[in-house]
């Protein structure tokens, strides 16, 4: 694909490119290597260590390497979407390893379950950013110089430039030159006026902020990375499931889970307290195609920032978290907590209260367990009892006769459980999942005919377990809410850098970098007329260059047509004026 418009222009164009070393993304960012560099290409001679390092650095900061690393980054990001990730789906990871006994350990060894913090992913993006910095900093230095540079001298033969237009105007060369200067100034060009024999020329350039935008974009990406990295060091998050009527306090020990960055600790959590007053949940009940779709999740809470501080009422909804001095509390889930009372064989109430059952399906088929380690049976012997089962908010049966929930709201609540006795394993000192029952040392309670004893209860019902194990009562149903408490510093900085990057990107893509030259020459024998030439050169593809050149020509023609009768407009701003009696040769062409 030819991006240059004619071979005879290549020299001029390359001079343009390498003289500045800075197109949107075009050059490879190196200040042009001086051709006199003691060519390491001196043959097969081994490179000195320093020379070798320099070679490596030059390779790393080259555009090709950056492009390769960028592609590698895209490829390396893919496995994170195909394998479950520990940071957002830990149970998925466990399931995957269980389902793939051969591949599982390998994926784990290759850090495939935490791709985005893996050594190889980190290596790619760190190399990419080092390459980026190594590329951008020299360019920034060059660009600072370019910002102060004057437009290059007017070439001798403007007709050789990619865009060229000329006309004869009825005004003196001075008037025409002044009109050209004014027209270019109006178009926000930086310009120099050169006096030449029999007229003069204007050299003008604009669009330096294309490179400014480019540098801003890349440096902002570095800033964004630093903000994200710093944020992850100091961030923490915790989760807690709260049933209606109970609360959540800023003491990490009471939470279901807590994880923090390297420099975050449990002491950073503000000493807040929160009480869940009401959980408002609504599902689509009208429309047949959308039936059961969630419509509203809202938790009415009372929050106090610290003990003794005033209590305020708030509603935490999805998309509407509560803010606590840089810490955000959001609603991450909800479900049902059947209120269960258990009286043991001696008649004593061992447990009475809501037990959260975790929803497994869109219709809230929920599973849960009740662990009762301190019961006494009818004979007065200590016994450990475990209950495991499902809660169905709107019980019905599916085609195979299995009880399922047909709707997520409470239409026909039903609790179905089985009972176990034996060792619950709570005395081992090993932390247990409160939502799972380890039945390895438990025996299932049977109904005397070899079948598991089934507990089926609707609210208000009680059932006596066999073998004098006591009575289970299903009193009512409460709701619970899961809260996610999270502190992520550096968010604002990350957003600012992201927006700066976007601004830089827009500048670097859409600000055209153009040079325009205007030459005015006197017409022999007619002091009131002059010959006008306008030419343009752009960096890269620039569809607007022709319009720019033609626009300048038209503006000068219009101005001289009006001004020819009047006087020369007074200059109002001080531009540099070069008096040049020579031929007006440019360095490019003169050498």
């Amino acid at each position: 694909m030819a991006r240059t418009d004619g071979t005879h222009l290549d020299d001029l164009r390359d001079g343009y490119r390498d003289g500045q070393t800075s197109d949107g993304q075009s050059s490879d960012g190196q200040p042009p290597a001086p051709p006199t560099r003691p060519a390491a290409a001196g043959g097969a001679a081994p490179l000195a260590p320093l020379e070798f390092l320099r070679y490596c650095w030059r390779q790393l900061t080259s555009m090709r390497t950056a492009l390769f690393l960028l592609m590698l980054l895209a490829v390396a990001a893919v496995p994170g979407s195909t394998f479950p990730q520990e940071n957002n789906n830990p149970s998925g990871v466990a399931t995957w390893i269980a389902d793939h006994p051969t591949a599982g350990p390998w994926v784990e060894r290759l850090q495939g379950f935490h791709v985005y913090s893996s050594a190889w992913f980190s290596a790619i993006y760190l190399l990419l950013f080092i390459s980026l910095v190594g590329c951008v900093l020299p360019r920034a230095r060059v660009h600072l110089a370019a910002l102060r540079a004057r437009p290059p001298r007017t070439p001798t033969r403007l007709s050789r430039l990619p865009e060229h237009a000329e006309a004869e105007v009825a005004a003196s060369p001075e008037q025409t030159l002044e009109a050209a200067r004014a027209a270019l100034r109006k178009r926000r060009f930086r310009l120099d006026v050169h006096a030449e024999a029999g007229g003069g020329s204007v050299a003008a350039e604009r669009g330096h902020h294309r490179e400014t935008g480019n540098l801003l974009f890349h440096l902002s990406l570095v800033g964004l990375l630093l903000a994200v990295a710093a944020g992850s060091l100091f961030s923490y998050s915790g989760q807690r499931l709260v049933t209606v009527g109970s609360g959540l306090v800023g003491t990490v020990g009471s939470w279901d889970s807590f994880s923090g960055g390297v420099w975050a600790s449990a002491d950073d959590v503000p000493p807040f307290s929160l009480t869940l007053d009401r959980m408002d949940v609504a599902f689509e009940a009208q429309q047949t195609t959308q039936i059961g779709e969630p419509r509203q999740f809202a938790a009415d809470v009372s929050i106090s920032d610290a003990p003794g501080e005033p209590v305020r009422k708030e509603t935490i909804k999805v998309n509407h978290p509560a803010e606590l001095d840089g810490t955000q509390i959001s609603l991450s889930g909800n479900g049902y907590a059947p209120v269960i009372t258990y009286r043991d064989g001696s008649g004593a109430v061992v447990k009475s209260g809501p037990v959260p059952f975790l929803p497994q399906t869109a219709n809230y088929d929920s599973t849960g367990v009740v662990k009762l380690p301190d019961a006494t049976d009818a004979a007065g012997e200590p016994v450990q009892v475990g209950l495991r089962g499902v809660f169905l908010p709107s019980a019905t049966v599916d085609a195979s006769g299995t009880p399922v929930s047909g709707f997520p709201d409470l239409a026909n609540p039903l609790l179905i459980m089985v009972a176990f006795t034996g060792d619950l394993g709570l005395d081992d000192g090993v932390a247990q999942n409160v939502y799972e029952l380890d039945d390895s040392r438990l025996t299932q309670v049977s109904d005397g005919e070899g079948r598991p004893f089934a507990i089926r209860l609707v609210p208000g019902q009680s059932l006596e377990l066999p073998d004098g194990l006591g009575t289970v009562t299903f009193d009512s149903v409460e709701r619970f809410a899961s809260f996610d408490v999270r502190h992520t510093p550096g968010q604002r900085e990350a957003l600012v850098f992201a927006l700066l990057a976007a601004t830089g990107l827009i500048l670097s893509l859409f600000v055209p970098r153009r040079r325009v030259w205007v030459r005015v020459r006197a017409v022999d024998g007619d002091p009131g007329a002059s010959r006008l030439e306008v030419a343009g050169l752009a960096r890269g593809n620039d569809a607007g260059l022709r319009e720019e050149v033609e626009g300048v020509l038209a503006a000068v023609q219009a101005a001289t047509a009006g001004a020819a009768a009047g006087s020369v407009p007074v200059r109002d701003d001080g531009e540099r004026e070069h008096v040049d009696a020579g031929t007006g040769r440019t360095p490019e062409e003169g050498s």
Binding site: D23, E284, Q290, E293, G540
Partner: protein, 332 residues
């Protein structure tokens, strides 16, 4: 608020009408391209014959002769029908929004409906701008007409067939004003990338024809390609579209991160949809860099643009449906 079923029905009727009009428009544009190809061929043949008659050797200085000014009646019919179709399409989108009292991009069907509408409007703006600028010949963007109507029709067909859901209220997770911003920017980005992809494909085909012709070979079939601009021009058009698309993807990511902070309590969670949008962004960044890396010509960069569009399709069609993640409530 309840759903207005009548207006929702009206939206569907308008969409069917729009699709009929798009079909007519597509036929018009196809006929125009066929005419154009034929005409250019016969003009070339005439010129050769004239040159041969004059006794000189038939020297073709240009591989592509200047498009002779002709009245493109079929293209005019195509554009008229396209305007009608776009109006009906806009009506359908508005009716859908009115019936559900919210912005009409709450699920995959609505995303496709609104996204194709944006593609159609973007194309019309390009046509009007080209006409106002008085750009004739190769710069007339109506050559893209067939390549806009065809994907629009295909997308609408797939959306109606596979993703259609009745008008409904939003699930709470989507009930945020960020839906308006984030998803709309994503729609714009997808639309621009789609048009850009059309231009890239045309560029690649045109380039191959030019190369074969330059090598003295014969190019058979696809005469309509001769009615299109040269590959250099197509490459520029594609680049401009992709560049704007890339900016839109950037804003999609930023707006998505801001919304994620509000909705999920963290601005970046490596959710599968986030990962794939990030991949799209990186591949487009590769395209923009490759395009201006020495040693990478427009052709190789164009393959990257195709890859990026493949990622977009994958993100919309595969990730939404088959990958579990926080975005999967979007509803089929």
């Amino acid at each position: 608020m309840s759903i207005d079923e009548n207006i929702a029905g009206l939206s569907n009727v308008l969409l069917y009408s729009a699709m009929t009009a798009y079909l007519g428009s597509m036929i018009g544009y196809a006929a125009d391209l066929a005419d154009g190809g034929k005409e250019i061929r016969s003009a070339g043949a005439r010129r050769e014959a004239a040159a041969a008659a004059a006794g000189g050797s038939p020297v073709l200085t240009k591989t592509r002769p200047e498009a002779p000014p002709r009245r493109r009646r079929a293209a005019a019919v195509g554009t008229s029908l396209f305007v009608l179709a776009a109006l009906l399409h806009v009506g359908s989108v508005v009716a859908r929004g009115v019936s559900v009292h919210r912005v009409p991009w709450g699920n995959m069907y609505e995303f496709a409906l609104t996204g194709t509408c944006v593609v159609a409007i973007a194309y019309l703006i390009a046509v009007v701008r080209a006409r106002r600028a008085g750009l004739g010949g190769g710069r007339d963007v109506r050559y893209l007409g067939l390549f806009v109507t065809a994907p629009v029709l295909a997308t609408l067909g797939i959306a109606l067939r596979t993703f259609y859901v009745d008008a409904a209220q939003l699930v709470p997770a989507l009930d945020s004003y960020w839906l308006i911003i984030h998803v709309f920017v994503a729609i714009l980005a997808t639309a621009l990338s789609t048009i850009g992809f059309s231009a890239v494909v045309l560029q690649l085909v045109q380039e191959r024809r030019e190369k074969r012709r330059a090598a003295g070979g014969d190019v058979r079939g696809g005469a309509f390609m001769d009615a299109l601009p040269a590959s250099v021009e197509l490459e520029r058009t594609a680049f401009r579209l992709q560049a704007v698309g890339f900016v839109m993807w950037t804003f999609t990511l930023i707006a998505g991160a801001v919304w994620a902070q509000v909705a999920w309590n963290r601005y970046w969670n490596w959710d599968s949809k986030e990962v794939w949008t990030f991949i799209i962004w990186v591949v487009y960044a590769c395209y923009l860099h490759a395009r201006s890396t020495r040693g990478w010509d427009g052709r190789r960069a164009a393959y990257l643009a195709c890859l990026a569009f493949g990622c977009i399709l994958f993100n919309y069609l595969v990730v939404n449906i088959f990958f579990p993640g926080l975005h999967s409530y979007a509803g089929v």
